[in-house]
Each structure stands twice: as structure tokens, then as C-alpha cells.
Symmetry: C2
Subunit: 253 residues, 2 copies
Amino acid sequence: MSQHRPGGPNGRAGGVPALPDLPEATVARLPEYLRALHNLAEAGNDTVSSEELAGAAGVNSAKLRKDLSHLGSYGTRGVGYDVALLIDQIEFTLGLTQRRGVALVGVGNLGHALAGYAGFASRGFRIAALFDADPARVGELINGLHVRHISDLADVAVAESIAIGVIATPAASAQDVADALVAAGVTSILNFAPCVLSVPDGVDVRKVDLAVELQILSFHEHRKSSLTALPGGLGGGPAGLVSAAEPEEAVGT
Amino acid sequence: MSQHRPGGPNGRAGGVPALPDLPEATVARLPEYLRALHNLAEAGNDTVSSEELAGAAGVNSAKLRKDLSHLGSYGTRGVGYDVALLIDQIEFTLGLTQRRGVALVGVGNLGHALAGYAGFASRGFRIAALFDADPARVGELINGLHVRHISDLADVAVAESIAIGVIATPAASAQDVADALVAAGVTSILNFAPCVLSVPDGVDVRKVDLAVELQILSFHEHRKSSLTALPGGLGGGPAGLVSAAEPEEAVGT
DNA sequence: AGGCGCTTGTGAAGTCGTGCACAAATCGCG
DNA sequence: CGCGATTTGTGCACGACTTCACAAGCGCCT
């Protein structure tokens, strides 16, 4: 995360919910609850218990209740939560009451897929513009939008009041793109490039690295197979047997 | 997220624990260190200090040292870490000394991009087979592999000893695919479908939901704009007390 | 009306992760 | 050979998150 404001005791009068300074872990789970709630609503459920909802979202019910309690008390004891009300509450908290415009930079392999990803549109986002540095790609029509050159970024971002940018370029150009986004007024960045971005304070960056996820799984595979293969424990250290594995297939991206 | 062994009171009967049972948070950072190390190696660095490496990986140097200390002592005081040695160590720990085969199910929008994603190959994985349920897609050639029907999954998975599966199908079919993967002997699943999978114990699932990341960013956007719009508290409540932003590294979790 | 079963909301305890601060270890050099 | 500069490895305190366990609240049934 980029920054977190430890706010003071939040006390607001009136019916409008305050901005309750949620734990980051809670924020990360709210979208999951929201998805589960939409499913439930579609299935015709009016209310839902914490146990049910927790099951649908894949978490512990106590955790779910505590998470929701941070938003305020929107459940009824003995009954459960009103599905529609809770959806509204979470959407408000996540700032999804307005459809946010997103700028996507880099329409290569991954960018192409992201541009066409229906999940963005269905969950409150609108891909407002596509950019690429490659002039050969400029003009290409993807999913109803045509690709613009990255030099137009500032103009478009301002015109469409875009606050979120997605970087789907190679790592080498990611920092430049991030700088350009920041200069254009973007204050939240989702980075798919495998590199660390440095941005000014006040700008949030989240990173998604697809290969990292596989590597984490690989670790668990490795551990599982070691456990079954060597129940006793393998001696010494894992020091020796590494070197002669693969022909070092460069890292270049 | 992944499943943990319930294990209870640590079922290990005496003896030295073979694999040091790393904290999950550490495991999640190792791939990042590995990437940074490969960059350094390519740049010709022989050794690196924790401070440098931490910078390149976007973390605190104390955290990095603690993480690495869990793997054993592979640094030299006063000097730093041997880049090549550390790469070997981390790759061993992550189980990347063998190139792991991956089965990708669902070659729609996103699956297509994943099939062509160079980052997998360059970081120790080999997409060994592509599957789809749609007969119209079977046979299609993507990145040198042709798409097979999902009914072949079991045969191929066994033949190629595939332990990792990637689900890039719509949510509606994800659970069926997961069941098929598990039946075919896959014990680790990376799920891009926006739904909760239920799998037997011993199977690890990691979920990546692209829209969720945007929603988390949206939350922070929402909060930022509210803060600037309402600098003070409204009536009644204790106002002020908004401490300044704490600078921190920009690292996604 | 009153009691009963169900479910939320939350104090409190426990677990996990982080970051500081420093001792121990190593190198280079005079 | 010893000293100082440097950097690792880690004990410790702190903070964040999770989980348990239960009181408080709500609706329904008698």
C-alpha cells in the first residue's frame, strides 16, 4: 500500500455514514463480500446471515461480522443482514456509487485482455481510454475504443477526469508510464508490470504479478512433495543440489 | 487464499524439520526478491547489501533480512549477500529448480493472454497444455500449443505430470473445472474466476481477481476525495485529528 | 406478555507480522 | 595484528489482524 491515514476517533452525527477508517485487511475483503451479495440478491435472497455470507465469500463468520461492524450496524440480531442495504453500504464505502473511469496503458498481450475484460464494466468501472507507446498500435480498435498515443494521456485524463490508471506495459517502460500518469493527475495505479514503481506520496499503487502467484503455489508444491517423499527429514541443508538445473533462460521482459 | 494444514498440535514427531516452515508473508515476498536479484545479476552485481536489495524489491531492509534469515544464513556480515548464491537458495526454496508444468483451462479473453504471457516461461513455468470446454475452440493454435478439449484433462495432466492448474473460465464453470483438475491430480490451483472454489484438503488455491484490485483502489480514491472535500469534521464529532500521511513504500500485497 | 431460539456486535485473548536497535561477524588497511 | 567501518542476524516491543466466546437485541410462538 502506499499510504494509510490513521485517523482520529471518527465521530459523525447524522444519518450519513462517516468514513470509518477501515483496517486495510477489511477493505481487501469488502469486494469479495460484495460479489457474494450480488449473487445472493440475484438468487432472490432478501436477508442473509453472517454464516451464509461468510460461506459464500470464503471466510470465517466472525471475521465477516467484525468487518461489517466497522462499516456500522447494518444487521438485525436474530435475523441477519438485509442484502440490498448491505450492497448499498459496501458500494458506498468502496466509492462505487460513481462509475469510475480507468485509463489502460499498454495494449500488448495482457493489455488487450484487460481491455476486453467484462468484469471491470460489471463491477463499477469504465475503461475510458487505451494508450500505447507504439505508433503502430495507435488507432487500433479494441472493444469499441481505439488506442491513442501515450502522449495524449494528460489531455484525455483531464478531460475524462480519470483518477485510476492501469499499467500493462513491459517492466522497462512501467516507471515512465507511472510518471506520466501521475503527471496527468492519476492518483491510483494498478501495476501489472513486474517492477517496483516509485510514486509521490498521495498516490496509491497496487501491484499484481501473475508469475508471483504461480511461484507461491510452486513453493507449496515443493513442500508437499518433500513431506511425502522424505517423512523423516532431509539432512543437512538444501545447499548442494541446485546448480545444474536449467540452462538459465534469461529473465528479460 | 490457500488452505493450511490443520495439523493441530504440530504432528511432527521429533527430528529436524526438513523445510523450515516459512511464514506465509515471507513466502509471498520471496518471488519479489528473486526478481530483483535477477535484475542485479544481469547488471553485473556480484554481491548486494540488504539495503540495496530491499530498495529494489520495495520493502524495508530489516524485513528483508528477517525474511532471508528464515532460509538460513547466506549472507556475509560486512559484505552483503552473494547474488548468485541467494538466487539459487530462493529458487530452491520456491521449488523452481524444476520447470513446473502448468495446465491452463479456459482460453477466452483472459486465458488467451495468459497463454501468451512471457512472464510465466521466464520465471520457471511451462504452459504444458491448454483446455477449453467449447468445441469450437478446440484445435486452435495459441502460442505454439493447440487447445484441447477439457475431457482430455486427466490424460494429459497425468502424462505431463502437471501439478498446477490455472482457471481462466467464467465463474459459472470454475467449480467444475476445479473438480476436474483435482480429479486429474492437480494439487495447486490459480483461480482467475470471481468465485470461491471448494477443494479437498491438501489442495492449494490462490485467487486473483482483477476487479477486486480496482475496487480497493476505488476505496482509497473515495477516501482521498472525501478528505479534501470535508477538511474538518461535521458538527458534533471531534474534528481535526487527521494526521499527516505517512510515507511508506508502494507495495501491493 | 413473556420466554425461547437465533443472530449480531464486540471485548478480550491469541497469533502473526513488522521495525527498531544492537551485538556479532567480517573485511580492509595501516 | 589490531582497529574501525560495514553489514548481517536477531531479541524485543509494538501494532495489526484473527478467533473465540458471550452478552445484547430481535422476532416468533405460545
